[in-house]
């Protein structure tokens, strides 16, 4: 054998004498000492110990104890299939359907028009989450939400001359990474998203071009309900919403993330 650590049946299922010898000559053999099927009576902790006894050396599983999945009594075999040529959860094209067994809200969100290519098989849940435990929130793969997002969106990292602090704090302040109807995975459309924190540009209601009972005039202000509602919304002008590294100290200065 190439690897002496490779387990035998009894390493996982226990000695299982009754199952092996079937002394009562039962038509259906007694179950193994440890079983892993959906009707298993083996406690989850004991089932998982079969796996952890070998895989505890894996650094990626160092924070399994105390993780959300461990606390929720998720068994390794709830996600992993052993007696098959290909484990569904180990293939990014089929992994989401395993995760969606429990995470049903995310299943609905990834089908919205603005989404990461999860259903297309190009991004897997495990690209962002370490289901075996992490020190970040929501089992994110790196130590925080922003650090996890920066692994693919590093251009947002800065630091910038003009920062937008919620970007440094948590991308989830503005984005829902699992999917939204609003473009760019935004939790709400501008201006409604931006107005949760900011109070710019007078007292307009959100309006649409072509909807107005009174058409614009040549003197209509650019800071209008149309211009901050349609197209890129507030970002039509405040285009550098993640921060700007423009150092120019001349008017109009980039402090409002205009350039």
């Amino acid at each position: 054998m190439a690897d002496g650590r490779t387990p035998s049946c009894t390493n996982c299922h226990g000695d299982s004498d009754l199952h092996t010898n079937n002394p009562a000559k039962l038509k259906e053999r007694p179950a193994t000492d440890r079983s892993f099927g959906k009707n298993s009576k083996t406690p989850v902790e004991a089932r998982n110990e079969s796996c952890i006894s070998c895989h505890k050396k894996d650094a990626k599983r160092s924070h399994w104890e105390g993780s959300a999945h461990q606390r929720a009594d998720v068994a390794c075999t709830s996600c992993h299939q052993l007696h098959t040529a290909k484990d569904k959860v180990a293939d990014k094209r089929t992994q989401p359907e395993v995760c969606f067994t429990c995470h049903k809200e995310q299943r609905a969100q990834v089908m919205k028009p603005s989404h990461h290519p999860v259903m297309e098989g190009k991004v897997a849940c495990s690209d962002c989450h370490n289901s075996h435990g992490s020190i970040g929130p929501k089992l994110v793969k790196r130590d925080s939400v922003v650090e996890t997002c920066y692994t693919c969106h590093m251009e947002k990292r800065g630091p910038f001359v003009h920062s937008h602090e919620p970007v440094n704090e948590d991308c989830g302040n503005c984005h829902n990474p699992h999917g939204t109807v609003a473009e760019s995975l935004l939790k709400a459309r501008p201006p409604f998203l931006c107005h949760q924190c900011h109070t710019p540009h007078g007292g307009q209601v959100a309006q649409l071009r072509g909807q107005l009972p009174t058409q614009p005039t040549i003197n209509s202000s650019g800071k209008s309900g149309i211009n901050y509602t349609q197209a890129r919304g507030c970002m039509n002008c405040h285009t550098q919403v993640h921060g700007s590294n423009n150092p120019s100290a001349t008017n109009p200065t980039p402090q409002f993330n205009l350039r």
Binding site: S62, K112, R189, A231, S244
Partner: protein
């Protein structure tokens, strides 16, 4: 988890090999077992066609590489070999090789000894929307703008963004307890995405002569952002494992490099006035002012190069089989020193930002099961970010300059704590009670920093919460759980940003700079330099991430194996956030509900059905300071139905039907008589609706033991009715008459046929 993906074909093969080793080699002669343990290699080749025009599959083809052409080569490769003499596995996989989402992976390993792999992966995003424009050099750093005579008469520009990833990874067991791991990943990102700029005159930040005094003039431009950057990530670590201790120490470096530092548009001729007519013609108002033209042509910064170096030590320790600890310490040094040379007007003495940020992270967790029925968890995490970036006057406002502001400093200290206990009660009940704590100290704000559009800031926030859960196994086939969680966030006194003047508060002007304490107990204003009780005005607004928040959530679920054939899952959750601040504006509350049921039914050994329905319902109440009160609701239903079966020994078939119906409602009330009248005339913002129906069918027929044919059919219908880029036939038109469109109703059918042959 990536590691798991790099171990194809492990499970069954190794289990069977282990069986062979355990029970002797006599069985090896058995042909059936020999077939089982032989790694499966195959190649799959075929062709696919997609119906409809390109713009009719813009949502379908957003990421899957099936948008631009009508026909595609389908080519997949899966080679897995094992050298029995050395126990060396060799894998070579290729997926979607005929598409621009192709993936190639080659790897070799000897389990428990060494392993290496090489991966190449392409990912593309094709923006579902099309720009119609006369822009020359769209997606370059120097686009040239010229006004189209009429909207829609320009050329169509489709924006793509392509990522090419290369990953090299290796592992080596140096001894039974010591392992070395390293990986390097490079990503090249090229293409363009929607971007732009805009400026309105008059403006306080663009005094005369930039904006001509008294002249209202503005312009918005669609200028795609050019992207040509690369990201490198390097991870190397040494892992040590003994019976009780697992320790991993290493280095993680991440580097971002952008080929473009800035972009600047040139504007030829005139732009449109607010009516869409050319500026400067008789009756159309003045020509595009030189000042506004200049501002629109100013360089726009693109993301700067940056790097971060992290050293870490992490692992776990088992004090006893039932009491364990895990821990992590990480120190990160991040820097951003991209040169300012392409920009003008940098503050004296600064050739780059000189950003340096040092972050220390500490985490310690303890789990214990002191008695068999009780399990305990304690976890604490502390993050200390220390921003050492030099402060400089980057903003000089006014003509002549009257006000100057600097960059800021973001040095938060965040502490998280968690205590939780779970007890096994009689009759199959299990109860969990947990407490959470979080404090965030954002540090002392830089007194000269400018903060835009906010009424107040808070240095410290603190949140405490608890959760309770009761779970019961009601029978061998039915389990249920109900949980409730609640948390409350509050914080320190509100501070007034310097950029907010004291106008309206007795006519005082800013007497000093900086973030100023607001003290509601003071009834007279003696100077904004020391306090400003004006921040407690009812129309003022405070960031939703800093305001007080009461959060409550309840969640229920049940799993029921109703019969041997039928299993059902039910779940429901509701949550509510209520925000409070000195004012009454901004995000006031939010509500969420989510319900669903899943079912699986095994018709027979060969046929299986699945189905689900779920509904999400969310509402946010957002009030603009003086403009509107909004109730934003999202209602989303999704349905799925699946079948998979084997009607004949050689034939496998399956299908999935997915439907999502989504509606966003934007209810506004005015906040003023004028706005209420306006809303009454407008009818308010229409709902945004999204509906997508997808049918997927496949069939695979085994021609013989080594070959098969497979057919795939996908039919998708998408309807998106939104007003972002146009409403009721009236497009949103940029100042050069550029427009953005998409086909709101799309229907596409994909048909693919492949021949699969096993490789020897």
């Amino acid at each position: 988890m990536k590691t798991l993906q790099t171990r194809p074909g492990f499970s069954l093969k190794i289990v069977v090999l282990a069986l062979l080793a355990a029970f002797g080699s006599a069985h090896a002669a058995d042909d059936e077992i020999a077939a089982l343990i032989r790694p499966d290699s195959s190649v799959s080749i075929g062709a696919a066609g997609v119906t409809g025009a390109e713009n009719e599959r813009s949502f379908f083809g957003q990421y899957n590489g099936l948008r631009r052409q009508d026909a595609y080569l389908l080519l997949d490769l899966d080679v897995i070999k094992r050298d029995d003499a050395t126990g060396t596995w060799t894998t070579f996989q290729g997926r979607n090789l005929g598409l621009d989402t192709r993936e190639i992976r080659f790897g070799q390993q000897k389990q428990g000894d060494w392993k290496y792999s090489f991966e190449y992966d392409e990912m593309i995003r094709r923006d579902p929307r099309t720009i119609n424009t006369s822009l020359v050099g769209a997606g370059s750093t120097a686009p040239v703008v010229s006004r189209l005579a009429t909207a829609g008469s320009g050329s169509d520009v489709n924006l793509d963004l392509k990522r090419k990833n290369t990953t090299i990874a290796l592992e080596k067991w140096l001894s039974p307890s010591l392992q070395f791991e390293a990986s390097f990943r490079n990503e090249d990102k090229n293409g363009a995405r929607m971007f732009g700029n805009g400026m309105a005159c008059t403006s306080g930040s663009a005094p005369s002569p930039l904006c001509t005094t008294g002249v209202t003039q503005w312009a918005l431009l669609m200028l795609p952002e050019p992207i040509n950057s690369s990201t490198q990530q390097f991870d190397a670590k040494l892992n040590y494992a003994s019976d009780k201790l697992m320790l991993s120490g290493g280095y993680y470096g991440s580097f971002y490099s952008n080929q473009y530092q800035s972009m600047a548009a040139s504007i030829n001729g005139e732009l449109s006035n607010p009516l869409g007519n050319q500026m400067g013609l008789p009756g159309n108002g003045p020509a595009l002012g030189a000042g506004l033209r200049g501002m629109l042509q100013n360089p726009i910064a693109l993301p700067p190069d940056s790097q971060a170096h992290q050293f870490y030590l992490t692992g776990n320790y088992a004090f006893t089989p039932t009491t364990k600890a895990n821990f992590k310490y990480a120190y990160t040094h991040a820097a951003q020193t991209d040169n300012f040379s392409v920009f003008g007007g940098a503050p004296g003495g600064r050739s780059d930002l000189g950003a340096k940020v040092d972050t220390s992270l500490y985490q310690l967790g303890l789990t214990s099961r002191p008695i068999s029925k009780l399990s305990l968890l304690a976890n604490v995490r502390y993050e200390d970010r220390n921003d050492k970036t030099p402060i400089a006057y980057y903003n000089v406002e006014g003509n002549p300059a009257t006000t100057a502001f600097t960059n800021g400093n973001y040095s938060p200290k965040r502490l998280n704590g968690k205590l939780e206990g779970t007890y096994q009660l009689p009759d199959g009940y299990r109860a969990t009670l947990g407490f959470n704590y979080e404090s965030l100290d954002r540090g002392t704000f830089v007194s000269t920093n400018s903060v835009a559009g906010l009424s107040g800031l808070r240095q410290k926030s603190e949140e405490t919460g608890y959760r309770m859960e009761l779970r019961r196994s009601m029978s061998e086939t039915l389990t249920g759980a109900i949980g409730y969680s609640s948390s409350h966030r509050s914080g320190s006194a509100w501070l007034k940003p310097l950029s907010l003047s004291c106008t309206g508060l007795g006519g005082l002007s800013d007497a000093g700079r900086g973030v100023i304490v607001g003290d509601p107990s003071l009834t007279s204003i003696t100077g904004c330099a020391t306090f400003n009780n004006g921040i407690y005005g009812v129309n003022n607004i405070f960031p939703s991430s800093m305001t007080d928040r009461q959060r409550d959530k309840i969640k229920m679920s049940a799993d029921w194996a109703a019969t041997d054939q039928l299993s059902l899952q039910f779940m429901a959750e509701w949550g509510q956030d209520n925000f409070s601040s000195p004012g009454t504006k901004g995000l006031r509350s939010s509500y969420m509900g989510f319900y669903g049921v899943d079912a699986a039914y095994a018709l027979s050994e060969n046929w299986r059905l699945t189905g689900y329905w779920s509904r999400g319902d969310q509402t946010m109440h957002v009030d603009h300071s003086t403009g509107y009160l909004a109730a934003l609701r999202n209602l989303s239903d999704s349905y799925g139905f699946g079948v998979i079966g084997k009607p004949m020994t050689r034939l496998q078939v399956g299908g999935d039907l997915l439907l999502i119906e989504d509606r966003d409602e934007y209810k506004q009330s005015g906040g003023s008589t004028a706005n209420n009248n306006l809303l009454a005339n407008l009818g308010g913002l229409p709902d945004v609706t999204f509906r997508q129906f997808t049918l997927k069918l496949f069939g695979r027929y085994d021609l013989d033991k080594t070959s098969a044919v497979r057919m795939d059919l996908i039919h998708q219908q998408t309807k998106l009715n939104e007003w972002t880029w146009g409403y009721n036939g009236t497009p949103f038109v940029y100042s050069d008459n550029s427009t953005v469109t998409f086909r709101p109703s799309q229907s596409v059918t994909y048909l693919g046929a492949t021949y699969i042959v096993a490789l020897p």
